[in-house]
Amino acid sequence: MDKDTLLDWYRQMVLIRRFEERSDELYQLEGKIKGFLHLYIGQEAVAVGSIAARKEGDHIITAYRDHGHALAVGLSANEVMAELMGKATGVVGGRGGSMHMASKERTFWGGYGIVGAHISLGTGLALAEQYKGTDNVCLCYFGDGATNIGYFHESLNMAAVWDLPIVFICENNKYGMGTSIEKASAAVKMIDKAKAYKIPGKQIDGMDIFAVHEATQKAIEACRKGKGPQFLEMMTYRYEGHSIGDRTRYRPEGELDKWRDEKDPIATLQKHLLSEFDVTEEELIAIDEAIMKEVDEAVKFSDESPLPALDTLFDHIYPSNAEAN
């Protein structure tokens, strides 16, 4: 991996972290973000490392903890922040909010609020590509909690029966909201559930961006070669609560500190850059500062952006038939 790529990954992860920290403030201190807000802090290596492995045309679809993926597919901090603040300049014009961002141009299909439902949608994206005969692949992200809902099982089975080109990426952060895997799932390894459907699965250190990237690359290649669905269980950790207002009382004391102190994906990559490449502390600080500025700019942009016009309330309930054949 070359230095520029790694610096780009570093930049993306720091952007997600700073963006999320600022969002938290905007919600809790300034009241500028409403509704639900699910922060991605701690899990940055998963979205950044895996999305970096896709080629143009490959699909990304995820659940409600979607700001990290939105930024990693290349949406600007401006448009993501404006969406959180419900502005007309947001990714989806203020209609979707935190949980529902999507960009057709970037083949980023959302952002979905119902746990597990989008796993069936991801399966459908893969079906469409297989039907059209392309070699495009779908990367479908979900949490460990989603593996207990029917959608997950029906979708894995269907994808396996039809050999669909989809990489199921389970972001295992140990808790579905506040309920630990041990309490909620008879199978504590998510790859065992994939195994039941004959889908090859691997447990990956989701805090290690190199491991994430390499595993995703291999899984995508297998899909492209027609080997059917693949499953990656990314072992990761969400530093913040499930959403704003969650004080994480269900976690054992010290658990968060251990992950943050020993496994933090940004600190790990930072160390690697300093020790293995001729990157200086100053360079990294300059990146950090540029990102602080980018996030500040995003807040300013969003503050100054107009609210959606009230006369657009009824727009897009139904797609236009103008181009229907």
Partner: protein, 326 residues
């Protein structure tokens, strides 16, 4: 011009659209090798192959969800539920996803998926297998709900549904599939029937009967009997429940001043409630009598034939309702 049953008309529409557009494909339980549990897709596997006629696992959530996203990604799937009762299992995928993606994502995505489902009771299939839940689906903006009653409409509307960029719930009255009584002249040449347009199926000046689906035939039977007594009923077939076209309903009501709504779904919160509300909102000055509702009684469908029939609307109940307000 051929005389087709309702089922034959649906089969023709599907076949013609698949021949016309390579992006159209069918997925559902038993649609392929079996030929459809109601034989709607008989012969399709042989003509179109496994790629375009896809037998699915028994997985309604995944069928509806996958078809939704496949539609967003540029294909035009027709997803079949073996019966409408199984669509309940997929309710979230239909009303919370297919119906939402256009609006929620600010118009970026089309979602040209058709969910086909035979619906309705009267077949002695018991409480879980006999629903007419059409209005429930019609409650949600973003989803179109089409309920044809005649072979001509079924063919023309299904073709429109497949070509529409919106998700369409297409509910077919299974009790009429092979009924010789509803056999109808259907043109051989290409035609479509627009979604969202109600249709006057019988003209009359004394009372307006508003109905759709199976209710149409019960209403026409009632109108025929009433005519023998000199009462001329106008029968309006809604054909589409969402978006609802009130134009012909209001026009007719302004002429007759009296209305009976006939539906095979349960009465409480049914289409009758909606039509009655709209009539008092939009034509209050024309109301001469209470607006009557004839619907399935509010009881789960019993198995035993006579009991089940007793819960469903019939021509006698429609006639009685009309006479109450004349």
């Amino acid at each position: 011009m051929a005389r087709l049953t309702l089922r034959e008309a649906i089969t023709e529409a599907l076949r013609e659209e698949m021949r016309r557009d390579e992006n159209v494909f069918i997925m559902g339980e038993e649609v392929g090798a079996w030929g459809g549990t109601y034989a709607v897709t008989k012969g399709f596997l042989e003509e179109f192959g496994e790629r375009r006629v896809r037998d699915t696992p028994i997985s309604e959530m995944a069928i509806a969800g996958a078809a939704t996203a496949a539609a967003m990604a540029g294909t035009r799937p027709v997803a079949e539920f073996m019966t409408i009762n199984f669509a309940f299992v997929a309710f979230d995928a239909i009303v919370n996803h297919a119906a939402k993606v256009s609006y929620m994502f600010n118009g970026q995505f089309d979602c040209p998926v058709v969910f086909r489902a035979p619906g309705g009771g009267g077949k002695q299939l018991g409480a879980t297998h006999s629903h007419t839940p059409d209005v429930i689906f019609a409650h949600f903006p973003g989803l179109k709900v089409v309920c044809p009653a005649t072979p001509y409409d079924a063919k023309g509307l299904l073709k429109s549904a497949i070509r529409d960029n919106s998700p369409v719930m297409f509910i077919e009255p299974v009790a009429l599939y092979t009924s010789p009584k509803v056999r109808d002249e259907v043109p051989d040449e290409e035609f479509t029937v627009p979604i969202g347009v109600s249709d006057v199926k019988r003209e009359g000046s004394d009372v307006t009967i508003i109905t759709y689906g199976e209710g149409l035939h019960v209403s026409l039977d009632a109108a025929k009997s009433l005519a023998e007594e000199g009462i001329e009923a106008e029968v309006v077939d809604l054909r589409t429940l969402q978006p609802l076209d009130m134009g012909p309903v209001i026009d007719s009501f302004r002429k007759t001043f009296k209305a009976v709504v006939v539906e095979f779904g349960h009465q409480t919160y049914g289409i009758g409630a909606e039509i009655a509300a709209r009539l008092q909102e939009e034509a209050f000055d024309y109301i001469d009598a209470p607006i009557k509702r004839v619907a399935q009684y509010d009881v789960p469908a019993p198995y035993s034939g006579e009991l089940e029939r007793a819960a469903l609307p019939n021509a006698d109940r429609v006639i009685a309702a009309v006479k109450e307000i004349l």
